[in-house]
Symmetry: C2
Subunit: 201 residues, 2 copies
């Protein structure tokens, strides 16, 4: 077995890069070579930014979003509607809704979904804080922006049971044909749901 042409420092870097989503061993090698060519403009700043973010970025104590300030920028924004609360599975979903400009109220990040099969119960998620927020506050509508999966449905049912009362309405995102989507490429479940909830044109 000849000596590897890749030294231990480089190999460790490649192994760590290969753990990132979308990267494998070969793309990690390409990324490592790219970074070595861009040491000052990219590689060192990236090392610093990783360390800096690992130290400073925390989960917001109110909603669970990730930010370097607490409460986070979304919770601290006084121009948002305090009566509508949007519940999401993950920070990525919060960012997606913000990118779409789809929601002007507040958020709550669960950090996962109920999954009896995987042993994930209410205490494993950011749910106690959600129930306290809804029962103790000015909120009149809770929008469940959860995935249309079995676990998403389970979580939605659980939350509806615990949150809906005389003053709070629970809603969920509509299901249907994606904007720009071709019917031919859609799965049967989505098509059936879109047909069931058809609306006047």
């Amino acid at each position: 077995m000849p000596a590897s042409p890749i030294g231990p420092e480089l190999q460790r870097l490649i192994d760590l890069l290969a753990k990132m989503p979308g990267f494998g061993p070969r793309s990690a090698k390409r990324a490592a070579l790219y970074l070595l060519k861009k040491r000052e403009p990219v590689m060192r700043p990236l090392a610093f930014a990783l360390d800096d973010a690992a130290n400073k970025v925390k989960a917001c104590s109110v909603c669970g979003n990730w930010d370097s300030i607490d409460p986070c920028a979304v919770c601290a924004d006084i121009d948002r509607d305090n009566t509508v609360l949007c519940v999401v599975q993950d920070v990525a979903d919060l960012w997606a809704l913000e990118r779409a400009g789809a929601h002007k109220g507040r958020y709550h990040v669960l950090g996962g979904l109920l999954s009896p099969l995987d042993g994930v119960g209410p205490d494993d998620l950011n749910m106690g804080a959600l129930i306290a927020r809804v029962t103790g506050g000015a909120i009149t509508e809770v929008v469940l922006a959860l995935p249309s999966t079995v676990d998403g449905q389970t979580t939605a049912h659980y939350l509806t049971e615990h949150l809906e009362n005389g003053t709070v309405t629970v809603t969920r995102l509509s299901q249907g044909v994606p904007v720009g989507g071709e019917l031919d490429y859609l799965d049967e479940g989505t098509l059936a749901a879109a047909m069931r909830s058809r609306r006047p044109f």
Copy 2:
């Protein structure tokens, strides 16, 4: 304009991740969220590995390979054949040939290709050292493992003119390398076959 849900530390991390090959703004966000969830096992070690490699990994003074030792592990390996020298464009190509186990001799990394149109001449590449290595040493064969592109052919012609003499034969990888293809993207079998059937240039 509402406040962004992504703080400045996170945004800087995402912007830097998005510069890596194969990453765009959206996959960089996904990677940043993944890293924040894996702070101790991946994020901090990656920050350290980037900084460590940026400090320690240098171009080998003999062949131009990247390693933390100089001469690099390939040059320092006493079991390799000193009479056959393989010339490659880039470190990635050296790694690809090593991965294929296609070459048991020495290497020389040019760091690019001659490109009259882009103003890249012999002085911009690691060529003086190559000519000195070949004329002053035990080398009897120089294998040009360069891409089958116009610039690769130009470089191969130039090197053949300057390297071939009574004791040194210049060969090249056999056709089998797809025209316009980069070595780094080839499968090992094709690389090994091309190395076996190398022919006089």
